[in-house]
């Protein structure tokens, strides 16, 4: 990676919250830990903090590199750094691994204090609301009363929205990219197929696979393959892979013939090698349950009436997982409340994954919006 405009070497930090956290789905965590990284410097007025929320498979490692693993560049490194659109010379940027995650924050891989064994399937279901509540405890700890902005793509955007509802006074700008106010039936359907792939893996063992010393690799792999299909656009997949053959000929077998098969298997294998199946399950459930309008008879405008933040909403023309129409739902629910909102519909051919790319216009939009935020 180019170290130009990089935040450079970063080290994860750990926040321990030694008090119970009640969860939306019932029950509570007696205590929890969050792993996070920071980039830039918190100013004296504590007015320049920006929270970056990750999506399904992301982590606290948003930018820069780790000394012990220089190849592991932060997942949104193209956005965050000195001189980059989310400029760390201006902002104090924080990435946090969410509750229930598998990168070091309290989650299914953590030890259950009641049993001394890993939580596994006993880890409670966590919601977007719970993530935000836990992030707020971290903000308290860091002395951040009000975020200059909270930014996220996809599921990360939902967290930005949720912040504006749960803590309207603590967020000045919400930036929701390639996001949605709730999942559609089709979205839930894809999640359910992914979950079934994991749940039906013989090595899942009711979620206590760690106790058996195994991992439901096949299930996770399938879940990731399904996910990947929905992250890319039809056109982009065609352009990138088409019907290209791996070995130049049809093998008339169930081996890998087409490049797309090879790509999906590779993505699946890679993911199954490091991601935790229980985290995948609970994260997809968190996605499914997120629906701020649910308590308002489906009226999103009524649900967003509490929000006080200014919003930037952005979508991508070829994103069919969270299509532009889903972003427009957010936008018009905000305009009905006369909230400040700018909406950009970005022409990018990479589907849902576009939010992670550095398309020039997309980044110009983010840069322009972020530059106008007063700190």
């Amino acid at each position: 990676m180019s170290l130009e405009n990089s935040v450079g070497l970063v080290a994860p930090q750990r926040f321990c919250h030694n008090a119970p956290l009640a969860l939306k789905g019932g029950g509570c965590l007696p205590s929890f830990e969050l792993v996070y990284e920071t980039y830039g410097t918190l100013n004296a007025a504590r007015s320049n903090a920006v929270l970056v929320c990750h999506a399904l498979s992301g982590s606290h490692h948003v930018a820069g590199i780790h000394a012990d693993n220089p190849g592991n560049v932060g997942w949104w490194d193209n956005l965050v750094g000195p001189g980059k659109p989310l400029d760390t010379r201006k902002f104090f940027v924080i990435g946090v691994n969410n509750l229930g995650g598998c990168y070091g924050s309290t989650g299914p891989l953590s030890l259950n204090p009641d049993t001394g064994k890993r939580y596994g399937a006993d880890f409670p279901l966590i919601t977007v609301e719970d993530w935000v509540a836990a992030q707020a405890k971290l903000a308290d700890h860091l002395g951040i009363d009000t975020w200059a902005a909270i930014i996220g793509g996809s599921l990360g955007g939902m967290q930005a929205i949720e912040w504006s509802l749960q803590f309207p006074e603590r967020i000045r700008h919400a930036i929701a990219i390639a996001s949605a106010p709730k999942l559609s039936a089709q979205n839930i359907a894809f999640n359910e197929v992914a979950r079934q792939a994991i749940l039906s893996d013989p090595e899942f063992h009711g979620g206590h696979y760690a106790d058996h010393g195994v991992v439901p690799t096949r299930g996770l792999r399938l879940a990731r393959m399904i996910g990947h299909i929905t992250y890319l656009s039809d056109d982009q997949m065609d352009e990138k892979f088409g019907r290209n053959l791996r070995n130049g000929e049809h093998s008339f077998s169930y081996g890998v013939d087409f490049e797309i098969e090879s790509y999906l298997r590779h993505q699946g294998d890679k993911f199954a090698g490091f991601f935790d199946a229980n985290t995948y399950l609970l994260t997809t459930k968190a996605l499914d349950y997120f629906d701020p309008a649910y308590a308002y008879d489906g009226n999103l405008s009524a649900a967003l009436a509490r929000a006080k933040a200014s919003f930037l909403v952005a979508s991508f023309t070829t994103d069919w997982r969270f299509s532009p129409a889903r972003s427009r739902e957010i936008v018009f629910a905000l305009t009905r409340n006369r909230r400040r909102v700018a909406y950009a519909e970005i022409d990018c051919d990479a589907g849902h994954d576009s939010f992670l790319l550095d398309d020039a216009h997309y980044h110009a939009v983010l840069r322009a919006y972020l530059e106008n935020i007063k700190v």
Binding site: L312, V331, T335, R338, V341, A342, A344, D347, H361, N372
Partner: protein
């Protein structure tokens, strides 16, 4: 062609910048302080910014062009990137005091639909457009050429305009659509109000429109 000579007044036509300020002032004059407005085809948001600075308005701009959307965001203007040709269904009835379309109606195809939508979402619509029947434009046509003038500054082959209409035509359409004209102002290229035969002497027309009761 030189309009100063044409009119023999010795005045120079307003520069593009002066004309923009002039247009903004005409529209601002119809907006009450603190109004909630919608600006269709808002460009880089300059009008909304002007109205915000001078009339303390709130509201949104609507644009389809990427660079204009980016310009709005740079200007701190709340822009919604949607295609106006598809209607304004995201906006509720009568949710704005004014819906404005400033010299952009002629660049859109669905003229009737847009006028209808403006008067659905707002109590009053403000429309400004270049008058195709302005004397200089007529002279160009009479001389065998498509007009290129201060308010129609494009060559026929690179114009963003897709609808060419006159003050008389526009008023006939309003009548057909059941739209009442609350007020009309026409100006020449010097920014002077025109009352004598505006369809001939007016280069730019401004309207306040409402639904007929």
């Amino acid at each position: 062609m030189t309009h100063g000579k044409l009119h023999g007044t010795g005045m120079n036509p307003l520069t593009a910048k002066e004309r923009e300020r002039f247009d903004f002032a005409v529209i601002a004059n119809w907006i009450a302080p603190g109004e909630h407005v919608l600006d269709l085809g808002c460009g880089d948001g300059r009008l909304l910014r002007y109205l915000n600075e001078n009339k303390n308005i709130t509201g949104y701009g609507v644009e389809i062009d990427d660079n204009s959307v980016l310009g709005c965001i740079r200007n701190g203007v709340d822009v919604i990137q949607i295609d106006i040709e598809g209607g304004l269904s995201g906006f509720e009835d009568k949710s704005f005091s004014h819906a404005i379309i400033s010299q952009a109606l002629q660049t859109m195809h669905s003229t009737e639909r847009i006028l209808g939508e403006m008067l659905r979402v707002a109590g009053e619509a403000i429309v400004s457009f270049p008058n195709f029947a302005y004397r200089v434009n007529r002279e160009a046509i009479a001389a065998g050429h498509m007009p290129v003038s201060e308010d129609l500054p494009y060559e026929w082959y690179d114009t963003p305009n897709v609808r060419f209409f006159t003050i008389v035509d526009f008023e006939a359409l309003c009548n057909k659509l059941g739209i009442e004209i609350h007020e009309r102002l026409a100006f020449d290229v010097f920014g002077q109000p025109v009352t004598d035969d505006p369809n001939l002497n007016g280069s730019l027309a401004f309207y306040r429109l409402a639904r007929k009761a």
